[in-house]
């Protein structure tokens, strides 16, 4: 059996947000008298874990544990406006809106706590565990729960805040294309190793080794989820997927998961990755949007690895065994010097 191995590299960046369409999202935060913080949104979790990371962002910004944050999202009657979950904007846009709202709520919280403890609010800090205490004097402390109760029943104050993140819309110049398409960029580099069956054109992806620069991994395991799932999707795009296998001919469009080809659990390559963080100046705690990018670098890396293995360029997706085999046969018929 004739097998040839090759290695290929690709490096990409990815824009966060849709500045070209205007990009606002809002968040409202309020404390209940149970001392929990409700974050009202109209944002959607597609499975990437938006609800979890928004919990973390709110908890961090107010200074309470995540268990004290309740995400109430995706009801247009109660949640303020969100453009939607796309364009790798969720963490960045909605996260920023939550931080703004949380800061406003935190200010009221600290003011009430200051009244209760009879100190200046400037002298207080949150412990991240559900209490507020005088800086350097942990014993002079009050639970957030009691502050929330006092705010409502004693001080007549709402511990609440309003937040919005709006990126001014960029209109491209019609002549030059001058524009500001995104706020920040994430980065990725993938090195793919493949084995090509030179008699059948079948490609096995042996490994995907990647580095991802994500600004700040707010939840590292969820970033890893995006990375592993995205790399699989990239491999799938590279070698398998199409709704029109004979494009531009419309014939034989797949109708089910047997016909719509994607790698199965037996095709998963060895995946290794490392995370780099260069904080985004405008991101929530430095975060960038990475969910979409993770699928991109594996595709050309695999294409380049195939060339490295057998000297065949397949410049159309998906790179099917047929395309590889046709390339190998054409090369054998009229040997060309390598590029």
């Amino acid at each position: 059996m004739a097998k040839a191995r090759g290695r290929g590299v690709a490096a990409v960046n990815y824009p966060t947000g849709m500045n070209l369409g205007g990009d606002p999202s809002q968040a409202l935060v309020h404390a209940t008298t149970t001392g929990n913080f409700v974050v009202s949104l109209s944002s959607t979790d597609l499975g990437q874990g938006l609800k979890t990371v928004m919990t973390q962002i709110c908890a961090e910004a107010i200074g309470v544990p995540p268990e004290m944050v309740i995400i109430d999202t995706a009801d247009t009657d109660t949640g303020p406006h969100c453009m939607g979950t796309f364009a790798s904007r969720g963490t960045h846009r909605i996260g920023n809106a939550i931080i703004m709202a949380a800061k406003e709520a935190r200010k009221v919280l600290m003011d009430v706590a200051a009244d209760e403890l009879e100190v200046s609010a400037d002298d207080l800090e949150t412990d991240g565990k559900g209490a507020i205490h005088v800086k350097g004097v942990p014993s002079r402390s009050i639970p957030v729960f009691e502050v929330a109760l006092a705010a409502h029943f004693k001080h007549g104050k709402t511990v609440s805040g309003r937040g919005i993140f709006m990126q001014t819309r960029s209109f491209p110049d019609p002549e030059t294309g001058k524009m500001v398409p995104a706020t920040t960029y994430a980065h990725a580099c993938t090195i793919a190793e493949v084995e090509v069956d030179t008699e059948t054109g079948e490609v096995e992806v042996l490994s995907l080794k990647s580095a991802y620069e994500v600004g700040h991994a707010l939840n590292p395991k969820m970033v890893e989820q995006q990375i592993v799932g995205g790399a699989w999707m990239g491999m799938s795009h590279a070698l398998y997927e199409t709704t029109e296998p004979y494009y531009p001919d419309r014939a034989h469009g797949p109708l089910d998961f047997n016909e719509y080809l994607m790698p199965g659990p037996g095709d998963v390559p060895a995946m290794e990755g490392v995370i780099l963080e260069r904080p985004s100046q405008d991101g929530p705690f430095g975060a960038k949007g990475v969910g979409e990018m993770t699928a991109n670098s594996p595709i050309p890396a695999i294409a380049n690895a195939i060339f490295d293995a057998v000297g065949i360029r397949v410049d159309s997706l998906p790179i099917t065994p047929e395309k590889v085999l046709r390339g190998i046969l054409a090369q054998a018929a009229s040997p060309q010097p390598a590029e």
Binding site: G47, K221, E224, V228, W232, M262
Partner: protein, 161 residues
């Protein structure tokens, strides 16, 4: 057309319903019994989201006529946790970040349970085969494979303890 009787056991509890001849088992579970944990992803038998156990064997509830389940013992994802304690698979999926959107999760768990009930010490290939009829679009499968292997190890050590 008269409705047909369906008497079967679901997660250890006997159920009796009258169903139409063309009623699918998945629709009876979801619409009549309110067990919506069994998902419908394709209605074609190609995604595995509706996987349940019938008499211990994995089956596609979207391709099973409800009347065919008469007298059978059905297990759904709701039947995995026993007396409020999560099954080791459920714990491993949650702890191992093996779920993203969660839509395939029920079918994956049930398919995995079918494997572990039969083979408590599966190798990676056996796990891969066990979920080979189940589509996941989010995770890239790797975390799911690892979670099943971890659950198998947990179950073995719990048994030997």
């Amino acid at each position: 057309m008269a409705k047909l009787p369906l008497i079967f056991t679901v997660n250890g509890t006997e159920q009796a319903e009258f169903v139409d001849g063309d009623a699918l088992l998945v629709d009876v579970l979801r619409d009549k019994l309110g067990m919506t944990g069994t998902r419908v992803g394709c209605g074609q038998g190609t995604c595995g989201a509706c996987t349940i156990l019938i008499d211990g064997a994995p089956a596609l509830s979207c391709l099973t006529l409800a009347v065919s389940a008469n007298g059978k013992d059905v297990t759904t994802v709701e039947g995995l946790a026993m007396g409020g304690t999560l099954h080791a698979l459920q714990t491993a999926f949650a702890d191992g970040f093996a779920t993203q959107c969660g839509f395939c999760t029920s079918g994956m768990l049930v398919a995995a349970k079918a494997l572990l009930d039969r083979n408590p010490d599966p190798d990676r290939d056996a796990v891969v085969d066990a979920i080979s009829g189940n589509i996941c679009r989010c995770t890239g499968y790797e975390p799911i494979i690892n979670a099943i292997l971890a659950a198998a190890a947990d179950l073995r050590s719990a048994k030997s303890a």
